[in-house]
Symmetry: C2
Subunit: 386 residues, 2 copies
């Protein structure tokens, strides 16, 4: 594999910050939060004209820690460290990059683990249904706070891509470029089915306790692990799994049978167990529901062209050939709607065997497309300033 021209360096040690929004915040579902808190990180410096900000929107299980480390020696850097850093595609020498944890999350922003306004304990399962639109509006409040009127780019993969798309529709004057990666304009029945099974695994775990597990000092580990295992298989491709695991045996004699464990079994169980220790079950339910319900064309007579009409951004769509969760054709749906709405849109289809997970991986052509596009974005900002 040829290395990307955007291999780059690391942002180093970063410290999360908090933004507190003290006014009531009305959610799409009709509920009102009396306020909210967002945990976020920034990388790079905001320029004097505040034109070089880039917003990173996270996917289902993501959070604010997108790049760098929290302390020297951290084993793992942020989840998108391959893309964010000096000289990397999202170049922190050029851009002021903001990453946050969304409302409803479990990494420090207001969510099911936060105390209820009346101090009667934590929200738990009573946290209101959140939507992509709610996230976008709360992110806009964070941008206000940080002095960012207009983003050079809003970028996200998967559920994060839906936020980037929604940003361009809801704040047409505040987004110069929307970079929508491995996304879809709405979920299919199959997508919803997999989410439903994951939620069902969680909520039918007797340790879920109707969502009040924390008060009881328990955790629906089994259900969360299953949810992750199901999700994980849909993030990988059949061919990618074949190359990585095939039918390799981890232990046991395939003739004897009973105690045989294939490598792929062991891998999935490990993924499930690790996740169940790190993620909140109520948040998982909220996030998958936001995915299921996202449908920007619904208020426009199911016409995506009408829905995107108000957008003014330039668009970069990126999709991956082996992604069967949000296949290339789902990005094409967005592309077609944007083209019919006479928007500037590019679509890069990246050959990859890594399925939906590709958007998190350092695939050279992917990094090159993203980096080259953003290099141009930066040049345009600079040109406008002179």
């Amino acid at each position: 594999m040829t290395e990307s021209a955007f291999a780059g360096g690391n942002v180093g040690v970063v410290t999360p910050a908090r933004f507190t929004h003290l006014e009531p915040f009305v959610l799409k579902c009709g509920a009102t939060l009396p306020g909210f808190e967002l945990i976020y990180e920034t990388y790079g410096e905001l320029n004097s004209t505040a034109t070089n900000a880039v917003l990173i929107c996270h996917a289902l299980s993501g959070h604010h820690h997108a790049a760098g480390v929290h302390q020297e020696g951290d084993e793992k850097p942020g989840w998108w460290n391959t893309c964010i850093g000096p000289g990397k595609p999202i170049d922190t020498n050029r851009f002021f990059v903001i990453a946050l944890n969304n409302i409803g999350g479990c990494h420090g922003s207001t969510g099911p683990c936060s105390p209820k306004p009346d101090d009667s304990g934590m929200y738990g399962p009573d946290f209101p249904v959140v939507s992509v639109e709610d996230w976008v509006h709360s992110q806009a409040r964070l941008a206000d706070h940080l002095g960012v009127r207009t983003f050079a780019a809003v970028i996200g993969g998967s559920l994060g891509g839906m936020q980037a798309l929604q940003w361009a529709m809801d704040y047409p004057d505040r987004v110069r470029n929307a970079i929508v990666i491995a996304a879809a304009p709405k979920l299919t029945a199959q997508n919803i089915a997999f989410n439903e099974i994951a939620r069902h695994a969680i909520t039918s775990d007797h340790q879920f306790a109707g969502g009040h597990y924390r008060e009881s000092g328990i955790n629906p580990d089994v259900g969360l692990a299953l949810a992750r295992m199901i999700g994980h298989v849909t993030y990988l491709s059949a061919s990618g799994m074949g190359k990585r695991f095939g039918r390799q045996i981890k232990s046991g004699d395939p003739r004897a049978g009973a105690d045989v464990e294939f490598q792929v079994q062991s891998y999935l169980r490990y993924q499930g167990q690790t996740f169940s220790r790190q993620f909140d079950a109520n948040t998982y339910v909220l996030m998958t529901r936001a995915l299921d319900l996202y449908d920007p064309a619904a208020d426009f007579g199911d016409d995506l062209v009408a829905a995107v009409a108000r957008a003014k951004a330039d668009f970069l769509l990126i999709s991956f050939t082996s992604d069967w969760r949000f296949p290339v054709e789902r990005s094409e749906e967005i592309v077609h709607a944007l083209l019919r709405g006479r928007k500037n849109v590019s679509h890069a289809i990246i050959d990859s065997e890594h399925g939906h997970d590709s958007f998190l991986l350092p695939l050279p052509r992917y990094l090159d497309v993203l980096g080259t596009y953003l290099r141009r974005v930066h040049a345009e900002i600079e040109a406008d300033a002179t």
Copy 2:
């Protein structure tokens, strides 16, 4: 949709029969059953030369009740009633059709719900690991009992197709035709992953009780339902689910969010609940393990051509365009091996939106291919007799 030329009639009321094998039966895993019982049904009449017998092998959740009804007024006929009957593709006016429940099953054959030989209760989780090869050998004992030396055809879909393939290898002189539908020569890592998640859902349900649920008067309903939901999504295609369910709402307001239920959610939950009341959890674990471990080429240096060398049957492979569990290419693998082994083989690829489940459906072209092939098989038998 044009109707098939093989729409045909029904076999009417059928009564299951039992075959008891009283001698020790050594399984591939090394364990020995002191004997076994098979529950089976037959449709049509064995001819005087015993050359018109057809064996039906069932898939993961199948059983012996393949056609007809058990009493007048039964709501549902046998699971393959669309294909078996007078004038149907597997024509009971021409063939003597045998369908059975495999060893390890939960519909009446020796399995986890059977008493242990030492009368210390039922087998439960201690039932030995069974394999496709074990099933084939036990089916051969049933054939002996019924006076069938040579089958006109052994037919099966999915896991049943693997049995048809194995019959042709293990009893080359007893199978004139092997009809292998929607099958694969072995599972991929992705196939194993889905089976693993289903098993994990069952065995990690606290009501599974290590497999001793029946003694405790409980049942792992939650785990079994999840296993079925996972399996079910893999039996359908994304496009088929899209056409059938799309994003139709069953109840609730998609803007409000919290109580929204999509049709596909409701459907899947119903499928899961129904299944959990009808199927035995230990059997589900056994059957999926047999699927995972099936790999006829393993004893031939992973060379499928060498594995099929001993077969003498003619082969009909049938696969379906939207089947992503066992895609067309998996049948092609078998076809290539058979062709390189200079076997007579035909492969029909049927256009269908119904995914893996297609093999159970009355798709006209599918019924026509199967019926026309078997009409020729019958003509050859008749010609040989004269």
